[in-house]
């Protein structure tokens, strides 16, 4: 018991897995020039950080809800709504657009988190309904079409390389990740979020204000998705009610799970999620360099998601143990 708790965290193999996966992806990227004519440049590193900026905050948002023992299916719609609201209201000043998008996100987060906390509802069906409401609103706001953002300079400014590999957009994402990493690790709120994800009843008994935290988590989730969506829409100078680029939900779920977040709740942190997002961002860049068609990305991400879900599945080890036991019993029964 005391051994469990005093053992330094960094010796835990499961905690190291996300970084091992990231290292593998980086090695794979480094090997690209060996097998192709292509040389990896700083531009590729810039691209990886841009991928991180586009999807990282959504993975962080979704990951937070999973750590709290919930699941926010509405993030992909919130991502689109954030972009739509920012483009429609940011005509005069992009900052105003972002603030309105964030305000919208607070409303969505409070509504969903409030219902889930107040009535103790399963978050899957609630956020599925939320997904439809948010997506429907995005369609209505855009009249079912893509909306152009007139001021192209905003996007150029956001994506202008800083120190060759960064941009304002990726630095914003990295900054928010840094704050979240510190908060989850060293502040009481981090411990409490893990507590309500691990054992909600015990957390309630221990005096954690579960309802307020749940609402907070869903607000954070909506905020992360909306901010990423708003920044991406400025960057592309367009907002659309249909998916832009990769399937955001699949990407962020895969990234969070690769990052060591468990679907049973209570486990994982922002640094792992960051490693998960970087792994997938590097993978996307490798696929882009190799000019692989889109379906390869779908197959690999889908396959990774299924694989990592099965690896983290609560009854997997038990299943192997019982099959091995019954197999050995079978062996005992057969006469030699």
């Amino acid at each position: 018991m005391s051994r469990e708790t005093t053992r330094p965290r960094w010796l835990n193999a499961a905690d190291l897995a996300p970084f091992a996966i990231l290292a593998l992806m980086v090695v794979a990227l480094a090997l690209v020039p060996v097998f192709t004519q292509y040389t990896v440049r700083t531009a590729n590193v810039y691209d990886i950080f841009q991928n991180f900026a586009s999807y990282g905050l959504v993975a962080l948002a979704l990951g937070l809800t999973i750590i709290a023992g919930e699941f926010d299916l509405s993030v992909s719609a919130m991502y689109l709504l954030g972009g739509m609201v920012a483009v429609l209201t940011g005509g005069g000043s992009p900052m105003v657009g972002i603030l309105v998008a964030l305000g919208t996100a607070v409303i969505v987060g409070v509504a969903q988190g409030g219902l889930i906390a107040r009535f103790r509802l399963n978050s899957m069906p609630v956020t599925l309904g939320g997904y439809l409401v948010v997506l429907g609103t995005t369609y209505i706001l855009g009249h079912g079409k893509s909306v152009i953002y007139e001021d192209y300079n905003v996007g150029l400014r956001l994506d202008e390389p800083i120190l060759q590999i960064f941009s304002i957009r990726s630095l914003v994402a990295i900054g928010i990740f840094a704050v979240t990493i510190v908060a989850l690790r060293y502040l009481r709120v981090g411990r409490d979020i893990r507590a309500i994800g691990g054992d909600r009843r015990a957390a309630r008994v221990a005096g954690v204000s579960v309802d307020r935290l749940l609402i907070g988590v869903f607000v954070m989730s909506a905020l992360g998705a909306a901010l990423a969506g708003a920044l991406l829409s400025y960057s592309l100078a367009t907002a659309s009610p249909t998916n832009i680029g990769v399937d955001v939900l699949t990407f962020s779920a895969t990234a969070a799970l690769l990052g060591g977040v468990r679907l049973s709740g209570g486990k994982g942190g922002a640094i792992g999620i960051a490693a998960g997002v970087f792994s997938l961002s590097v993978l996307q860049e490798i696929l882009a360099i190799l000019r692989s068609p889109d379906y390869v990305s779908s197959l690999i991400t889908g396959g990774l998601l299924v694989a990592v879900t099965i690896v983290w599945a609560p009854e997997l080890s038990q299943w192997f143990r019982t099959t091995r036991v019954s197999a050995s019993l079978e062996k005992d029964r057969t006469p030699a």
Partner: protein
Amino acid sequence: MIARVGLERRPLGIADYALGAWVAILVAVTVYGAATTTGFLTVSNMKAILTAASFVGIIAVGLTVIVLSGSLFSLALGQTAAVSAMFFLYSVRWGLGAAIILTLLLGLAIGAVQGFAVGAWGANPIIITIGAAGLLEGAAVWLSHGESIVPPDNRTSWEHLANPVLGLPAPVYVFIAVSILLAVVMRRTRFGRQIYLLGENRVAARAAALPITLLTVGAFGIASLYTAGSGILIGATSANASLLLVGSYTYDAIAAALVGGNAVTGGRGSIARTALGAIFIATISDMLLLRGYSTGGQILVRGIIVVVVVVLTNLRERNR
């Protein structure tokens, strides 16, 4: 004994009245809409509603087995339907019967594999099915080279599946027949009762040594089999198939099951509820379309209905 699960009489609580009121509001709005929407109360529009309800309904009643078994829902149904439609129109060159059987087997296999991961290993059903959806999309584009599938010119046998019989499109009859079949299976067979028990109380099901893996494989297998069946009809009706067919089938089917008032956590509900839910969703969508609402308006209304029903059914379940 188990067959009576969910049938006990109990005093009505406030949530029952709230749910009753909500149903009354929905019915009133529908009746008002029906009376005031031009072109709604016509024979051809009724046929259109029934046809739309059939495609979604077949998927939704199959999905209900997953919901009742306590594995929430599947997010891969639209992809399964589209892939089935593509495979069916391709394989029709080997004969109609072979095409139907092969497509249904493909659907069954797709669902069974997902059900195995969920049942045997306790993998999260939502995430497994999101991953499966990605795999299906990737595989479909890969194998079809991104082109839509059209049936060979010399084969027209599949057209029968879309033709009207006695004035109604064939899918409507299929919807009614497979719904009744599944309702009987769920109420009258040991498999059905065990699914109810599994969804009602997983711990008790485990203690009673129910074959949880087999039941979950069965639930996902049936859902996917029914979805493949719907995919065949969708393919036959549209006469060409691509991933564009994925459309909103996944969310419409889930909405139908939820709007029917099935408990999301499993164990309580019925096939009939889902079938009614599918007809209701199709009616509302049709009415909104006729009244000139955009796609967004239709999605939004569906979302609001889902959220309200989820909250109210949950409150009612808690009073039991």
